[in-house]
Symmetry: C2
Subunit: 110 residues, 2 copies
Amino acid sequence: MKNKQKQIQLRDVQDVIDVIGGRWRGAILASLCDKEKRFNELKRDLGIITPRTLTKELKYLEMNKLVSREVDTSGAVTISYSLTEHGKSLEPLIGQIVAWGQKHRKVVLG
Amino acid sequence: MKNKQKQIQLRDVQDVIDVIGGRWRGAILASLCDKEKRFNELKRDLGIITPRTLTKELKYLEMNKLVSREVDTSGAVTISYSLTEHGKSLEPLIGQIVAWGQKHRKVVLG
DNA sequence: ATTAGTAGTATCCTAAAAAATAGTGGTATT
DNA sequence: AATACCACTATTTTTTAGGATACTACTAAT
């Protein structure tokens, strides 16, 4: 019983790692917590990501209902990416991740 | 200024993903939240991990001061792995990850 | 003495992730 | 008209993670 419960938790952890893990997903989501962004804006934010990878990751996040893509055709076509409601529900978690990350750096480096 | 702050946060997110990400790290840490475990005990817990990978991941976690390895030579040599204090500070984060993971499954699957 | 368990190592291999690089078709700016 | 920015796509190459498999050295139990 207790063991079964444990299994379920491990699955949950792995699911979440799948969603925010990898080299870029967490950072993309964190960047979008700030505000909605356009493709090249995200690209600059993230530093060294290639457009191919960014495209791929954004598609994955869209499919997982965390990010939505909106096209504005009023002037020159611009496209903005933002967190969905579900994506926004990640914000507190990302906040805690950032906080723990800062602590972690101190422990490991200092 | 504001931009600089943002960069730091993205770096933090990436650091944490590095620590708990990958296929096994999060699961290993989650398993050790339960109680200290021995090598083969962890191996059974995790299911299909190879000993090579488990060794490698445990070494990484040791280097990052999250897990400590203790040798008991009183009888047959046994070795136990447990969370360090720093590792234990991850527990609330893992708890939130599990909670969000459960919510996420509902959103994505129905 | 044999078997089984503990705690790993050593080698090789494959699949997937991501980088490098180049190019596309559009708009806006000067 | 030329340049530059936007939002990508295509192709090739490199890197990395992790699996498969086999083996080691030790101890404890039967």
